[in-house]
């Protein structure tokens, strides 16, 4: 069952991407494209890219070299879209707070530079896991993208937790799905790209990655389509004359 081209393998490759396209369509119907344009682009382009790679994998006439070239192109496009999406998440979480926006931008730029440098170092010191440069290069690029993505999302959550900021439910869901996927993929690609697994066992890591991605798509469905339960708040009528109330309060404080 846990083998390439098994029924489960086909399902895990196709279903999450079909669901992602469905989610994009539902969001478009609701007008969600206005709020999260990069998530929508990521959902559509990412899903189509994965389905193209899947099609290239199952069509016998596609040569291995062509498949890897398609994979590379998809990887670059997906990577760029993910970083644009992370930028969108940061903007939604911090930009409405003037006191944090500037510092947040500064820290993100610094951290981004550091992560790119760290990822480049990790890639430079990794042993080649394949005799074909196109294969090991793709694995290292995966590791690099996920390392930077994971670092940026971790920072986003840690920073907002320190300041007790509660991101909107939808943006939290997007970041959470992206973050969980990035962490699992980083772990698996780090093992694969550093030659820690024999080729025969790599399919197990593919299954782990695909299952995680499926779970993340379901997380996006839950957070983006199901509304938040709103706790009943008792409406407090505003005082008719604020100035009077304030003057009384100030007098009371002054004479304490």
């Amino acid at each position: 069952m846990l083998q390439a081209h098994s029924l489960l393998w086909h399902y895990l490759w196709v279903a999450p991407n079909a669901l992602l396209l469905l989610l994009a369509w539902l969001l478009l119907r609701r007008g969600g494209n206005v709020r999260y344009p990069f998530f929508l682009a990521f959902a559509i382009v990412g899903a189509l890219e994965q389905l193209t790679i899947y099609a290239a994998d199952v069509i016998p006439s596609v040569t291995p070299k062509t498949w890897w070239l398609i994979f590379w192109a998809g990887l670059v496009i997906e990577g760029l879209l993910k970083f644009a999406l992370i930028g969108e998440i940061f903007a939604h979480v911090f930009e409405s707070y003037l006191s944090l926006a500037k510092m947040g931008k500064l820290l993100i730029r610094g951290l981004g530079t550091f992560l790119v440098f760290a990822a480049a170092m990790a890639a430079a010191y990794a042993p080649k896991d394949s005799i074909f440069g196109i294969v090991s290069g793709a694995h290292l690029l995966q590791q690099t993208i996920y390392l930077v993505e994971c670092g940026l999302l971790f920072f986003l959550f840690a920073f907002s937790r320190y300041f007790r900021l509660t991101p909107e439910r939808q943006i939290l869901g997007i970041a959470l799905g992206l973050g969980i996927s990035a962490c699992v993929h980083l772990g698996t690609w780090a093992i694969v790209a550093n030659g820690g697994v024999p080729t025969a066992k790599r399919t197990l890591f593919d299954f782990l990655n695909m299952s995680t991605y499926h779970a993340c798509v379901l997380i996006w469905f839950y957070y983006l389509l199901f509304p938040q339960k709103v706790a009943a708040q008792s409406a407090v009528p505003l005082p008719e004359n604020n100035l009077d109330v304030w003057n009384r309060e100030l007098e009371r404080l002054v004479h304490q």
Binding site: S99, A126, L147, C150, F163, T166, L176, L186, N194
Partner: protein, 178 residues
Amino acid sequence: MTIATLLVVVAALALLFLLSIPVSRSLQASASRGLAAQIQPLDVEAFRNLVDPAEDEFLRRRLKPADFRMVRRRRLLAMAVYVRTAGKNAAVLVSIGQAAFANDAQTAEAAHRLVDNALLLRRNAAFALVRIYFALAWPGTGLAAAPVLQGYEQLNGAAMLLGRLQNPAKPVRISATY
């Protein structure tokens, strides 16, 4: 394999942290009713005295250098307690303010102002703590904790405005004296 092991450990820790977020968010939501009780009132006058450079200068002139350093360290430690408490209060006020975003326009505006001020204070408190700990190592150096005090007073006003708008009978106060 060393790099791979390191990356796997980092990824696993980050994953655990991310998975804890929805849990802590739901716990936070259920505990939001008692938020105002978490605020610890601070004596602004006492804090103002601690951060007053004139007080430090007076002590420096009156005491022997060794005694001054000891007294200065104690004052810095006391200052750190105040700043930490102010930072914690600011964090609580961020939660209170965010919970009020969904109210009417006037309250939401006051809530936004409160959250912005509270975030600024939390940020300043973090910076101030770094400076205090730095000054603890070198007690002779100057220390600018005044922005924290200023921010705290501004925050107190914003919190009281929001408290008044939400519940005229029960304002939120975060200073023992004002």
